[in-house]
Symmetry: C2
Subunit: 421 residues, 2 copies
């Protein structure tokens, strides 16, 4: 090793350090305020009738997992573009419809994440950086579109969400914008980790929206709809995370991960210093606990944009704040703590807002560094729902899924090529 080479490495290492510091500072400085609900086409830049957004990295219709395919067919029926699943399948296969990742449209949505033009989405504004992010509305658990469920009841519920709930939520939050970062901070002290467990945050949100929502057309029915859904906040935490991480994307030299998302086939990641590039490895079947009557044989590979929460220090990295999550996903309280501890080993910094009471109010791990992940092999882990392989079955369990190390290797290789190290 020559002196000149040493100097070069040290220079780059300074560049990386300051770029990464900038990235995490932007997340810490960000705000995430729920300001509206509106049809996707009206608010998401670039959204249009012939475009359907989906979870995970890019994928063609023909390659999608069955649950995502059926969700696509469902939204085509919802959009009155097809009368039944067969017609919808034909249309989806025709080339007339474009399929693109939510992530490329400032969006993030759970499981299939399938979003069409008329569907109402939450609008979250990051007031510090003037960017917005979006996510469709939470349907609930069980037989639902996002797990590939399809039935008259599901479509009827989605129509009510578009016609009544969405416009009512819009009125309510316009009257009373809601700071989602504040709710997240509070709920972390109440056992939510924000990938699997949203019981406290959903109740805190209910408390905030209660009064203005009662004054709308949805009224008590709308309030009940939210009250009955323990994961309602999932579809708000995700656009909040997207709104917070997006300003950290595209910083030259930064090795911070800005995308983590799965489509049931591939698990894709993105890196701040390599803006717009996807690095994709295989999506695995989460390891966890199955609902009665189901086993790993019934499980689909990991899908959904929800791992976006890990990019801002939540989800798996906040597990130490949520020991009760082990009751859903299996494992012990020690395992939950370990997920957070492993997070510190691969992160650039700690969250200024998201504090873990159990750890003397230490901030959660923030800013996943692809260099550290490659050095340690400690890939991000998520507590996540397990979807059924057969569409319509819905959720069959919950467990822990890991990001593929291959994606981090590829990302580091591309980084080395771009920045000449």
């Amino acid at each position: 090793m020559t002196n000149s080479k040493e100097k070069t490495n040290s220079d780059i290492s300074d560049e990386i350090e300051s770029a990464n510091e900038e990235a995490v500072n932007r997340v810490n400085k960000g705000k995430a305020v729920l300001v509206d609900f509106a049809p996707a086409k009206k608010v998401i830049p670039g959204m249009k009738d012939d475009l359907i957004l989906h979870a995970g990295p890019p994928i063609e219709y023909k390659d999608m997992i069955p649950a995502m395919k059926v969700a696509v067919q469902g939204v085509l029926i919802l959009e009155n573009r097809a009368k039944n699943l067969e017609e919808a399948d034909k249309l989806a296969s025709s080339g007339e419809i474009e399929f693109r990742p939510n992530h490329e449209f400032s969006s993030a949505a759970p499981m299939g994440g399938v979003t069409s033009a008329s569907m109402y989405v939450a609008v979250v504004e990051n007031e510090s950086f003037d960017n917005k992010a979006y996510c469709n509305l939470h349907e609930g658990r069980g037989k639902i579109l996002r797990f590939g469920g399809y039935s008259d009841e599901i479509i009827e519920r989605l129509r009510w969400m578009n016609d009544i709930l969405g416009p009512s939520l819009s009125k309510a939050v316009k009257r009373k914008p809601i700071d989602l970062k504040v709710i997240t901070s509070k709920a972390l002290a109440m056992g939510d980790e924000f990938h699997q467990r949203f019981i406290a945050s959903s109740l805190l949100f209910l408390k905030e929206i209660l009064d203005p929502l009662l004054d709308t057309e949805a009224g008590a029915e709308g309030v009940d709809f939210i009250a009955e859904r323990e994961q309602f906040f999932l579809n708000l935490a995700m656009p909040a995370a997207k709104a917070l991480i997006d300003p950290a994307d595209g910083i030259d030299y930064s090795t911070v991960v800005t995308r983590l998302t799965r489509n049931g086939v591939g698990y894709g990641i993105g890196v701040s210093g390599l803006k717009g590039e996807w690095f994709v490895g295989p999506a695995e079947i989460p390891k966890g606990l199955y609902f009665p009557g189901y086993s790993e044989e019934d499980a689909e590979h990991d899908f959904g944009d929800s791992a976006i929460t890990e990019t801002i220090g939540l989800g798996g990295y906040a597990s130490a704040a949520a020991p009760a999550v082990t009751r859903f996903v299996g494992g012990t309280v020690k395992d939950a703590n370990q997920m957070t501890m492993d997070g510190y080993k691969v992160s650039v910094s700690e969250s200024r807002d998201f504090l873990i009471p159990n750890l003397n109010f230490r901030g959660t791990p923030l800013g996943i560094d692809i260099i550290k992940v490659n050095q340690t092999g400690l890939v991000p882990k998520s507590n996540t729902g397990i979807g059924g392989k057969v569409p319509g079955v819905g959720q069959v369990g919950a467990g822990i899924s890991r990001a593929p190390i291959e994606a981090f290797r590829d990302a580091l290789r591309a980084y080395a090529k771009k920045y000449g190290i």
Copy 2:
């Protein structure tokens, strides 16, 4: 030591062990279902117009702390027995009004705990043992009667609670009785410890009561009233605890504590095997954190029945489940854990229902044993509100209060005398 004496001691020790086992089994077996709200006189056996109930062990009006005195005066005005504080003071001093502890009327209420005939109380039924317990309604924080506040606004609010809220809550829970033990178990995994922190349980209760309450006269106003009060569940957790501990009282030979309560002068305890007897030591000023502008000089000595929660394994003994409570009462997360650990050293058993996720879902310490408290000196501790010395000031802070060892010494002496050890 002779052989015969050894045998006697061992016999008694067996009696104690089985009596204590019976006591904690009864708590574990108990249910606590919120079944009604009604005026005190209509539901509390023995309640009448000329009787006022108060927190803590027995005390005469003239010896009460100022905050409790003003609360007594306030309820006499509420009952239309006096027009102003002076008239009320005169009436209270006249001998016409009887003053008795809540605890002797199957009741427990926070701070002053002052309850008069027409005031609405929650009715909690222990279905396993067919007993009931009662507590007045939660007013909120700040300037309120239970902290000795007095103003037209306070009386007006209490009248609304009697006229509108109480009857509406009655209708709502009659339509939908609510299992308070289930809410308590859930909220323990969400950072409540049930003496100071009730954020999760109040929200979980809100979620349950929402739908039936919207259908009553109180309607949205009633729902908002609950939603705005982070400690609303305090006045439900206390009668739930009373309903659960009462069946454990009066078991011969049992050394389990069935009463822990303060009136600002004395801190009284009761023991299962010594039913009905009070053992009283001095009430101390809690050590803790003061709200801006206040210090220990402004603080009243510890008052309120809320330490009833410690008798069933909540409050201080559940602190390990609620590390965030240290933000209110001072101290560190380690201190909060220590309070639970100390609880195990002086308790007969562990709760079957109240589990602490952080401790691998270990049950909270259950059944405080006066023998163990005397042996170790580890008196029960509570996370508690600190009331202002000057009535009307309301809450000035929150901290940790300790039960007086003197009361435990006296209890053990009385026990030894009664059972001949």
